[in-house]
């Protein structure tokens, strides 16, 4: 499997996916 960080847009998409995952982590931490 290709490392997404090798491509610029793979890196940006990784960042957005990570944001979405952390959004739900924080929401659950906040008891939401």
């Amino acid at each position: 499997m290709k490392n997404p960080l090798d491509s610029l847009w793979g890196t940006v998409i990784t960042g957005f996916v990570l944001t979405a995952i952390l959004y739900f982590v924080v929401k659950s931490l906040m008891g939401g």
Partner: protein, 159 residues
């Protein structure tokens, strides 16, 4: 004294713009430019004259950003890093920023010193350093996206 948090925030944002601006310069501009420059043998212009200067401001701006952010958190520093109630969003931002700072000083800069010839390294070590520094820089670019989201979210994005 009432002005201090505002001044810390101002410094945090100015240094942060320089840090992340240079990070985006490296990733969005310089990587592709170096590839093209290597093809027509003009890469030295970048590696000798641009990259060392950009790296200087990049690594020191990273440190100033973190220190000003820590000063801004003040007595809430532990609450943020321990995700206490009301500090979960800024806590995630603070952790991501801290990981990025450690990446700059602990991984990117030591490897860049080998690549730029500031410390002795064999060709094999330089090639390995190039790959490690590249991936660390790309990791920071990816981390900057949620980091900025949660820094802003603390006061401006309801969740």
């Amino acid at each position: 004294m009432d002005m201090l948090p505002g001044i810390y925030r101002w410094i945090h944002i100015m240094a942060g713009v320089m840090w992340i601006g240079l990070l985006y310069y490296f990733n969005f501009v310089q990587v592709a430019a170096l590839k093209a420059a290597q093809a027509d043998s003009t890469a030295a212009g970048i590696t000798k004259h641009v990259a060392p200067r950009a790296l200087f401001y990049f690594r020191w701006a990273a440190l100033v950003t973190w220190l000003a952010g820590a000063a801004l958190l003040g007595s809430n520093f532990v609450a943020a890093f321990a995700f206490h109630a009301g500090f979960q969003k800024i806590g995630i931002g603070a952790w991501l920023g801290t990981i990025m700072l450690l990446n700059v000083w602990g991984v990117i800069w030591p490897n860049q010193k080998k690549i730029l010839g500031l410390v002795q390294a064999t060709d094999e070590q330089k090639n390995k350093a190039r790959r490690v520094a590249f991936l660390a820089s790309r990791t920071n670019t990816a981390l900057s996206i949620p980091m900025l989201f949660f820094m802003v979210a603390q006061t401006h994005i309801p969740m």
